[in-house]
Amino acid sequence: MTQHYIFSRESTLAGAPELSPMGIRMVAHAIIAFGTPAQQDYFLPRILTGEVFFCQGYSEPEAGSDLAALSMAAVDDGEDLVCTGSKIWTTHAGQANWIFALVRTSRSARKQHGITFVLIDMTTPGIEIRPLVMTSGEQIQNQIFFDAVRVPKANVIGAIDDGWTVAKYLLEFERGGGAMAPALQVMAESIAESAQRQPGPSGGILLDDPVFAAKLADARIRAEVLEILEYRVLAVVAAGGNPGADSSMLKILSTELSQEITELAMAAAGPRGRVYQPHATLPGGPVASFTPPADDYVSGEAWQAVATLRYLNDRAGSIYAGSNEIQRNILAKATLGL
């Protein structure tokens, strides 16, 4: 974990593209903790080389915040589980060649029981992907339909019906395992840099506007403090502990701070922030209903051109990986005992 953190931090500071987290940061941990030696031998080296690229199949149309209500059916048929149902909000479903998914193998009074954690080869017959157009116009998320998809039982991680244990373990990595603070610091710093070149609301430069300067300072202070908080949680994990509900705290703080920073960037972009020009930098996915201008004209600098798109996309931060309302429920119960 400490090495992951250092790697993320250094990559961010160097401006390297982000790693897709679903393989190396997430499912790999489940395979290490719960996988068989055969599963570990097959998947771990291939995740490292990128030969196996995972997406995540948790949410369903009727099971979002209430994830344990998931109902994608997996019927026992000899060597295989036969899976039928739908997953939604799957990032990179079109690019990934494997998906780790939660499926329903049995029903009982306790809905967490009867869930199974499976790895599914995306080339298996019966899988159909429907891209979703986001408010930014990008197709990043998808809905996946599974129609009698055969999954070998050898691809079950952990025990059949006991996938919730694996999922809960993984969610803690998703929510708090990463190094968000360095990226937030870089984002805030680059706004300060750009605001030196932007006009302020009352004349002069934007960085000298007292209201803007105070908001930016507040964001940067919170990012610096968040980094120390991340180290404190990391220290617990490095000593063999589990981040537990503290990962919920890191998830809330980092996503809400990120939303404020992307909003500041949008404000700094000024009137040009309103121009729709996803071609100005690499979009997060194919862009629907858009043809770039023949001369590739961009109004303003690249960061201005995409500031509002980033703001729109970043609203997902307080929704994904368990909404921030759910995270506050977890903290209230697990940390404060309410």
């Binding site: 209500a69 979703l132 302020g200 040009r272 121009v275 729709y276 109004s299 996309n313």
Partner: protein, 375 residues
Amino acid sequence: MNPEQDMVRVGLSRFLAARYSLDSSRAAAKTDPGWQPEIWRAFAEELGILGATLPESAGGSGGRGTEAMVISEELGRALVIEPFIDTVIVAGGLLARAGGKAATAVLAQVAAGSAIVALAATDADSGDRWDGLSTTAVCDGDDWLISGSKIVVIAAPLATHLLITARAADHDALFLTEFDATAPPGGLTVHAYRTIDDRRAADLVFDDVRLPAEALLQADAAPSLARARDEGAAAVCSEAVGAMRRVLADTVEYTKHRQQFGQPIGSFQVLAHRMVDMYMELQQAVSAVYLAVLNLDEEPDVRARAVSAAKATVGRAARFIGQNAVQLHGGMGMTEELAIGHYFKRLTALQYEFGSTDFHRARYATLTRPHDTQE
């Protein structure tokens, strides 16, 4: 609201419900020409709203701020992308105050629905202000030569006429010219695009663009421009109220039907309280619009103070209601599949239109300083 104004409201509301669907208007926005000219013609011919606030001398019906408020709110509720505020309220106001034969002729065309006027007021280096112009106009014989860079000129790609602000003889001057974005005059480069909130707009680069002497509409247009900006801000506040009413209603409805943990999510206290806060933001926004509209005809400082109070209040409400409506819709609020995603983009863009929330707070602070602490 008097009975005539209420008739306008009901007529427009019925028209939009029957003829202006979100699907068809978004499809129009994303393909050329980027708007629905037949809707604009109907606004003029069937509803008469394009002349509602224009002077009677130009074929209008001489309405004031209240008419603008009533119409803008209905347009906001239906998320109309056609440039009513830009062409009728802002450009129409500038033309009416400038007066003269040319301006009156264009106004008559605006009222009749045959002219779209775009205002090129934002310079590339002036942030979102309309003063401190770096675009210049200099005399060359009987002509004017315009040079400078205007950004995000809303409705320019569909415009038949341009209003251009430029610094001339130490004043902010206003010019009027016929315009066709597909065949601009020599020296004018047009970069047309769509905006985040599905309007058409353009950056315009003027390099010694030659205009005849009579293109100068007003040599000192600063007071009229200040008023146009305040009237635009007030109308956008009203448009926002219409959009926020719809967004709040949709959110409440969604949370009544969306089931998680065996119950409607609206029954969870944290979400119920959030929606009550959204409701209270909306009610403050409605009140703020009244404050602005009641003061639009007052002295410039009184008008500016009221408009800044309104725009700051509505900006805060649009941010809170927009962000929380997305949050309460969950992932679906992030997509283009429900209305909320489209409304959220408009509620985001309008926070920065005709002065941002921060700009208006700062202007309010300046305008309300106690006199004895000023020099």
